[in-house]
Each structure stands twice: as C-alpha cells, then as structure tokens.
Amino acid sequence: MKCRVITNKQLNPRYYKLTVLAKEIADQAQPGQFVMLQVNSGFDPLLRRPFAIHRWWDGGEIEILYQIAGKGTRLLSQLCAGAVVDILGPLGKGFSLPLTGVRPFLLVAGSIGVAPLLPLAQDLISKQVLTPNQITLLAGGKSQADILAVQEFGDLGVRVKICTEDGSFGQKGLVTDLLAPLLQTAPSPVFACGPTGMLKAVAELCRQYQTPCQVSLEAAMACGVGACQGCVVKTQAEHADFKFQRVCCEGPVFEAEKVIW
C-alpha cells in the first residue's frame, strides 16, 4: 500500500519518528502488530524492513518510532514530508489482553522496544482493563538518548520508571534491576519488548516469580506474511523437543514461557 509521509522527525541523533497516512492499516491495527516498510524502490536494500506500529489515529495516520540501525533505516531517515512509501500491514499477532486485570501490569521496554508498548497501554486504558495508575512502564537503555516516548506514557497517566546503563537518566543499571524488586513485592503480568538478551532475562525473572509474561520478539524477515519461513524462533512443542514458529505470523508476541531461548 502506497502511503504519503506526513512527517519524519529526528528525535535525537539515533532515533526518528515517521508519520504516514495509511487509513487501512490504522483501521485494523492491534497493539503489538507491525508493518513491513519498503525503504526505497531500488534493489539495495532489497527487502522490506519490519517496524512496530507505535501509534495510530482514527484519521488514518500511523506512526513508527525507529532507530538508525543500518542501511535501510538510514535511507528511511532521509524521507521528506510528501514522499511516498510502500507499507504492508498490519501484520502478525499482537499482545493478548487479559480481560480481568485486577493486578497492576508491568510494561518493560529496552530502548526502541518501547514502540509497541505505548499502544498496549492505550488499549488497556481505553478498554478499561486497567486504570492508568495500575500500569507501570519500566524503560531501560544504554544512555539517556535511548529512553523514548516517556512523555506519551506520562500523558496517559502511566507511571514511568527509568534506568540507564551509564546512569545518565534515572537509576543506573539494567531494566531487570527495576523489575526484580517489583515482582518480589507483587508478582504482576509483564509485557516486554527489547533486545533478545533483555527479553530472556525478563522471561527468567517472570518464571522465577511465576507471573505471566508476553514478549515481542525480533527476527530477520523476508516476507513478513508467513510465506518464506525465514523468521522462525524455537518454541516448546507438545509431542517433540521443540518446534519452529514464525515470528511474523505466530508472533511477534509470544508467551515467554513457550520460547526456547
């Protein structure tokens, strides 16, 4: 689907926010779903790039929060308002919303991993699963620049706790250092997105405290629609040691306890 760029704004040297008009995607999007975006029409880079849908509006705008990671995202950052990008989506299976949300929920973000957690928080609040003060975002990153979208969570009334590895913003340390004591006092459902190492550590903590945890995984993708089998992750199987599931369609969100890390 060809979409017109509304804005493509630099947030800091490494992060950008792209807003495009994509009515069909905005109409169908669910928290945790993603799109495959074609960064250019040439053959290098060849493949589309996957990005979480960060925000969307009834008017049809969708927003992507992205990090300059390489060739493709650098090209993406050069798009100007008015340019046209081809976007496929919405794709994948997003977060499952538990309907009885008595306990507070913890959203755990590793830098850019915050992207799909904002719509989750919005959904939990608008569907009245929880009140804003029953949601806490734990946001971690290497440095202050990696802590994103804090303002948006604050606007929703969600509590935000921050940590950075270099101590430049919030507590010094890893996001699991924030998570562990909270789970110890009250085991709460966890929704996490970030680098694989972080997700693995979060999953381990949740297993320890016996609390449900959903993780949004990343994998290199070619098609994004389930056709190439390129994006698989190892998960628990009933009658075998393991099975491979496609991150693009059985995921990207998985129950952490089903993933074989």
């Binding site: 074609q38 493949l47 994998a219 290199a220 098609c223 389930g226 390129g230 190892k234 099975k243």
Partner: protein
Amino acid sequence: MPPQLNVNIAGIKLKNPVLAASGTFGYGEEYSRWLDLNQLGGIVVKGLSLNPHQGNPPPRIVETPAGMLNAIGLENVGLKVFLEEKLPFLTRFDTAVIINIWGKEVADYVTIAKELDSVREIAGLELNVSCPNIKKGGISFGTNPDLLMELVQAVRSQLTRLPLIVKLSPNVTDIVAIAIAAEKSGADALSLINTLIGMAIDVKTRRPRLANITGGLSGPAIHPIAVRMVWQVAQAVKLPIIGLGGIMNSSDALEFIIAGARAVAVGTANFITPQTSIEILNGLRQYLVEQKIEDVNELVGSLAV
C-alpha cells in the same frame, strides 16, 4: 483483440505464463490477503516431503546486495497435512497447482510422487533436485548426470497422469549436460534456476551470518546467470522450460521468454511486492500489444542473434 496468453507446459494448461515459485509463496493462503490468486497462471507450492520436516535453525535468511541468502532447510508440513489442510484452500482458485517435491533418497521421491499422482486437483510435479542424496554421501542429485537420471527415471516410471518438471540446480559446471540427462531420462519439462549457493560473514564476530553457514542466493543479483542458463538449455533440449531467477518486473520476465522459456516463475520478488506477478502480467500484455504479437507463444525463444 487482447493478446493470447495461454501456454502449455507438457500438458499443464496455464491460462497465462506467470507462476509463483516454490518456497516463496508458501501454500498460497499466506498471500491470498494481498492479491487475487485467480489471476496467477499457477502456484508452485513450498517443497513437500513425505514426512513433516523442521528445517534449519535460525538465522535462516540474510540480505545481500540486490539479493538474499536463505537456508530454510526445506521446512514443510509433510504430505498428509498438505493434502488435508493446505490443498483444499488452493483448489478453490482457478489456477494450476504444481507440487514441488524433495527427498533424501530416491525412494522418498518415488513414494511421494506415487501418492500425488492420484490427486486430481494437482496439475503437475516439480522435482527439486538441489537437495543432498544421503545414500550418495550427500552429493546433490542435481549436480551429477548419473544420479539425476536414476532419480528422474525412478519417479517417471511411477507417474501415470502427472507431468514431471525437473527443476535444475545452477550449482554445476555444465547445466546443458544436466538438462540433457533430465530429458533423456523422461522429464516432461524443465524449470531453472534454483538458488546459487552463497555465503555471508559478519566480520565483527567472524561468524557466518546463517546458522547453516551457506545458503541459496536469490533475487535480482542472479537474474543474468539464470537468463544465460535458460538460453543455453533452450538451445540443447526440446522440453518446455519454466524460467526463473531474479524476476522483479515484466522486462525481467520477457528476457526469459525471449531466451526460450515458455513460462516464468516469480520468487523473491513476492516478498517485496506481493502483487509482482500481476504487475508482470500487465506489463507482458502491454508489451505484446505494443509489439503487435498476438500470441505469447510466438515470443518464446525469439532471441535475435
């Protein structure tokens, strides 16, 4: 009058010459949300084996300049689940269904070919000969003329109804010798090319980028090699040819047809633009009109040298 697009591949009647290539179009259902499958000449489904197969560990794909490497490892649901759960969906559409099959030894191919021969909804079999023969020390069936002849003869002798397409591997010194071996041993048609074996290394970690170390290269990077191979093979055999490798647009597809292919298959391009096949079809129609060619078959092998 709109140009005539029907082609016949060894008895498989295609309403147009544009197919979806094996392994790049799943079982059809994955793409049905994005395009009308009725418009395709045919769909070649993901390589099927008798038993379900788990495939290789990730990472399975890596992008390379104008191409990609894949080492999926032929993951598939196996014959039983395919017939029960995947084929019924595909048969709802007016498009030829071709089954790409593979095995680890000749007997595997023979068994699955025999089972499929009686399935009415199937239009043809495509033999993937790029996989290793475990009985012959893992050397690929498609790289040795004797191994290939043994396989093709064994499968051919089991088929009473289905046309047999042999899909050639480009990882050989002489593709023509292999094509002739396939023709002699009873192949009804040829498709070429499968992926070229390649490799990519992460220089920071000095590790291979694929868990399998090597993988198959596909995409626009391989197109000129594929066109050359189709042209060489078309000179040497009488069998109808399905040309594929790096087709991104109608001009890429036309090169194959002019080189001698009667049909083409779209692979990696599906990942980037699911509607590529339909765009190619439109481009093909327009070209035929502009060139005042009434029937696409007139264009096949029309290379002026």
